[in-house]
Symmetry: none
């Protein structure tokens, strides 16, 4: 959020930064494209620079190492997704379980699906040793948001909210990953969201203790 807004604003005032931003964006896009077209193993700084229409030197101006570039691209992607999730989770505090699930699933599917190729391209990057801890952090933020939400559910209490959140996260990630790896993700999309809600809600309702009213 800050980055998006900030960069837009800065751009108007400082034309050079506008150019910078355009360059950075071009590099980001090029990275995704190369990732999709060639795979992580064949992604080279030169290939990225070429596709971005800049020289390697320029690329290194903005990203002092290859790792930094990959990390930045991954970060942009994951940041957008967690933020979406955090916002969605926060917006349904104190709601009932079914509303929560509906909202969260909807947000998650939308986030992952909007940039389908990007998400696909970044799986391998996320697995890389050097980004592991960051990925874990983001995962943790995600779980924190969900856990905070679940705790406020108007119609349910959980014995082990930590575990429940863990499973819920898994329930969201598993099918999405499968979907992204499928050949024609678009075709199942409509039904998919409904099914994902069913999966999550089925689980949560099984795990919930009915809320004690006079508490």
């Amino acid at each position: 959020m800050r980055i998006d807004n900030g960069q837009g604003l800065d751009a108007r005032k400082q034309p050079q930064q506008a150019r910078s931003q355009a360059t950075v964006d071009a590099i980001f896009d090029a990275t995704i494209q190369v990732l999709l077209a060639e795979g992580l193993q064949r992604l080279t700084t030169i290939r990225v620079a070429e596709r971005a229409g800049v020289s390697v030197g320029t690329l290194y101006q903005y990203f002092p190492q290859k790792q930094a570039l990959l990390f930045a691209v991954l970060q942009r992607h994951l940041e957008r997704i967690v933020r979406t999730m955090e916002d969605a989770a926060a917006s349904v505090h104190n709601a009932c379980l079914s509303t929560m699930v509906e909202t969260v699933v909807s947000a998650f599917v939308k986030a992952k699906t909007e940039d389908l190729d990007e998400a696909r391209a970044l799986y391998a990057v996320a697995l890389e040793l050097d980004s592991r801890s960051y990925v874990r952090q983001v995962g943790a933020r995600n779980r924190v948001a969900l856990e905070a939400m679940l705790k406020t559910a108007s119609d349910a209490d959980f014995d082990d909210v930590g575990m429940t959140t863990f499973m819920l996260t898994g329930a969201l990630l598993g099918p999405i990953r499968l979907l992204l790896e499928a050949k024609s993700p678009q075709s199942m999309m409509r039904k998919f969201r409904h099914q994902l809600e069913s999966l999550c809600l089925g689980y949560l309702e099984r795990e919930a203790r009915p809320k004690r009213l006079a508490d």
Copy 2:
């Protein structure tokens, strides 16, 4: 399993092949170790050979390319898992949903968990371009087995078994992956299996139409 036996037999007759087998095994193990210790990107044939206690030349005698080695390791792993799943699914044809889930979850968790490190190590390998189609095949075999099982459920019918199987697979994979990436998977294990059953069963019961008796 079959492989071990077959080779064991041969080994007694042909001492040279016994040595070969020992070498191949050492290379397999070394690959997993390097994968865990260094990651896919830093896995080199020399490092694998060194850790296996053989020369590069020997490694190449058995695996004509690096890819072939990685593929073989992945194959051994996945083959064991699908076979476990196929057997488990076949063993509960015509049972009730809860038995099915219990059996399948148990088999899956056990398979993935037995060689925890191996499973962890191979995620990145499975993502590589060249093994994609094979991974997909195995995934398909898995789904076929589950779908065949679900169709025989004594207490449930499904409108769209294909989709249900798809989601069920996702429900199994997601949390397991999360578990493998967690710091101390062993600690949650006991509770985990129960939770995974809950997730699967909650979903399936929601999706099931009660079976028509006089059909």
Copy 3:
């Protein structure tokens, strides 16, 4: 020739390309030197690069494979020779046989002899599988030029010009090859040209039918 000029011109305008050209030239020369000093089998990209005073990486910037380098060197050499032959042959259309032979032999000996070492170095390269078809092409161009010339001889007709050209080519190549492989080619040079003319002319006069005047 054309290449040098063209690149020279470009070089003045684009200083970077001047550096490039210098690098390429150094690599060419180094290749010949390594070929002579070590032989084709011991020619390695590193050795060439070292002798050229550049790094392997630089070499690969200009020649994407070892083969490409060898091919380029061979091409430069053969191209110069065929062109010399084509020009020489064209320049004596309609002359008498002895003039033709004198001119062609002189051009051929000069071309092969100018860069004696280069010619010597490239025999093995020319034999390599991958350059075979190119070598054949050049040979064909050469024969075409000679055949066209012979057909216009003012004092002779040939029954089978194709065969005659074939033999003439062999008559030129054989002794030259022997000369290049000799220890002190320079010493025989003077007499050699005369002898080669004798060989060619002796043959052609035997094969020629006297020209019918009223044709």
Copy 4:
């Protein structure tokens, strides 16, 4: 000659040597085949051994280094040819030029043509650094034989027999090499020998001084 006879004789007495000889022959043949099928650069001891139906170890029993093998094959080939030439040249001492040429050309063409593939396969080997001096030796023997022959010509004297022999050798080699490299050598064969005689005789008659009778 000695080798062929000797080995045949020994074989009858010492059966083990017969087997040896068979093995050696198989290795020789395999070498030629590999040379033709893969080229010198891709000729490996293992490939040769495989094609010969023996193990590498066995191959090394007979040829302690790869070079030794190649050298032996080359030697067998060249030895046969020089010997043919020496015999042919010796058989026409004191004959007239045209008889000499006819005999020598016939022998040479026959020798090179009998094992067309072998001759083709061995060009690259002959060019290798390590066999250069041997090849030169054989060339020298050849020239010595021809020179001795020319000196006895009944109808001609030469001012510089050395040079004349040199050119004659070149005149023989050049066209033959061209023929071997051609696509369908067999087709031109008949006419070819006649042409080669014409080339040689044309040259020799030009260079000859008529023999002084009362000398």
